[in-house]
Amino acid sequence: MSWLSALAAALVVLPLLLIFGFLLWQGASAVNVDFFTHLPKPVGEVGGGMANAIVGTLILLALAAALGLPIGILGGLYLAESRDARLPWLARFLADVLNGVPSIVVGIFAYTVVVLPMRRFSAIAGAFALAVIMLPIVVRTSEELVRLVPASLREAALALGIPQWKVLLRVVLPTARAGIITGVMVAIARVAGETAPLLFTAFGNRFWHQTLDQPIAALPLQIFAYAIAPYDDWHRQAWAGALVLIGLVFAVSLAARVVTSGRFTGVR
């Protein structure tokens, strides 16, 4: 029985290893200094890089996190702490439904409420779409982790004469912090590779964006555009872009782990 579960565990890890190995094989040759520092070259010219798309993806992720995380974490805190029965149930249900909405539909939603009123594709619209996708993941993981904080800690803090809101922000949230950050990383990793919701929000850009209300390049969009193009050099660059994207997600997760492992941590 134990060898069977060991086999199952190996099968779980196998796809990741295969994907990573294949990306290395196909893309590593195209990852060079130019890839990180240069703009894409015009059609027909060999070389160039995806500097604008790498920066664009980082900006989109940062903006999406700035929009989605505070709302998501505070929302999760509310769901975990509320004594009311009906509203949290509804919010939880809707968050789960939102989690299941196809990302392209979220893109259409962002197109309708951000792109159309602004009359242009923009980084803001792209970040908005990504934030909407992050929200249910962040809300639900925050809620679960806040629930894991022992009631005895809340009681200890309340009995010290600390107001309820301060108990939540200074005792309960820090205790759940390590776990919430893991959830946040999952959410960021999830949206980092989203392509569909960016197609008609961030739109993509072959040049540097000037301001956040303009179309912005993003790695997934660039990978998509290059992968369906008929040029071998672009295919190589698409593979390289995918490799960089995975490396980026990996680096962000690792950094978050390092940052949170320093101080005393509560529930994980």
Binding site: L153, A159, I162, V167, F264
Partner: protein
């Protein structure tokens, strides 16, 4: 009498369950009062009513009057947060904040109450830890995590944390039930030292402990205060048959 705790006709509920029935008792200031009784008799609920912690539980309700050191804690307009600042509480299981150091745990009440000056916090921490008879053991480990200490030390950190806000009353809800006999002895010693400065109410399962540390004892049964009196009298010459049955070990 202005000092101490004066309870009149206190009733408490969890939802529809009526768990305390018309408790009236006067608890002397600057003395140790023990509350004994079998599990589920309402003794924990009783002390949680004194600092308005009972109402923290969803569906819990209280009626009656409680005056602590002259203040009616259930008067309309009284902020439970202010009530709890004056009444410290120590719980059954040691519950230091796991994300905070020993030092941060001890000054948590002050710091989250708005005190910022480092010198004030340093002084308060040392004083509270000395009062909790823990200073010599942890003065070199103030930066360590509060949960890295032994159980007995953790419980004394919790006592220091409660003392740091300089309460007038200290409520202890079976503070030794999760500790070994040596740690228990230390806590009892501590209680005897603190009684000259504080009004202490201690809930305990352990009748010997009540006899060792308290001047007065109340015996609770099924949500009622069956008997209240001087500890020695209550243990040697109980007036009530139920008290006698309990302390002689016939039930509970």
């Amino acid at each position: 009498m202005a000092g101490g705790i004066v309870v009149r006709d206190l009733n408490a509920w969890f939802g529809n369950a009526h768990v305390l029935h018309g408790i009236s008792v006067t608890i002397a200031p600057k003395a140790v009062t023990a509350v004994i009784g079998p599990s589920g008799c309402g003794k924990s609920t009783f002390i949680r009513c004194l600092n308005r912690m009972h109402e923290v539980v969803p569906g819990a309700r209280v009626a009656g009057s409680v005056r602590v050191e002259g203040t009616d804690v259930y008067a309309p307009g009284v902020d439970p947060v202010q009530v709890r600042r004056k009444i410290g509480m120590v719980f059954q299981k040691p519950n230091p904040f796991p994300t905070m150091s020993v030092f941060d745990n001890v000054v948590a009440g002050l710091r989250l109450g708005g005190v910022r000056e480092r010198s004030v916090l340093d002084e308060a921490a040392e004083q509270a830890l000395r009062q909790a008879a823990l200073w010599d053991e942890v003065k070199d480990q103030l930066g360590k995590s509060g949960v890295s200490l032994s159980g007995g030390q953790q419980q004394r950190v919790c006592i220091a944390r409660a003392l740091a806000v300089e309460p007038e009353v200290l409520l202890m809800d079976e503070p030794c039930s999760a500790l070994d006999p040596i740690a228990t002895a230390k806590i009892e010693e501590l209680i005897l030292e603190l009684r000259s400065t504080l009004t202490i109410v201690i809930v305990t399962h352990n009748m010997q402990q009540a006899a060792r540390v308290s001047e007065s004892t109340g015996f609770f049964l099924m949500g009622e205060l069956v008997e209240f009196g001087v500890t020695r009298g209550l243990f040697t010459n109980p007036h009530d048959k139920q008290t006698e049955d309990y302390i002689t070990g016939r039930f509970g």
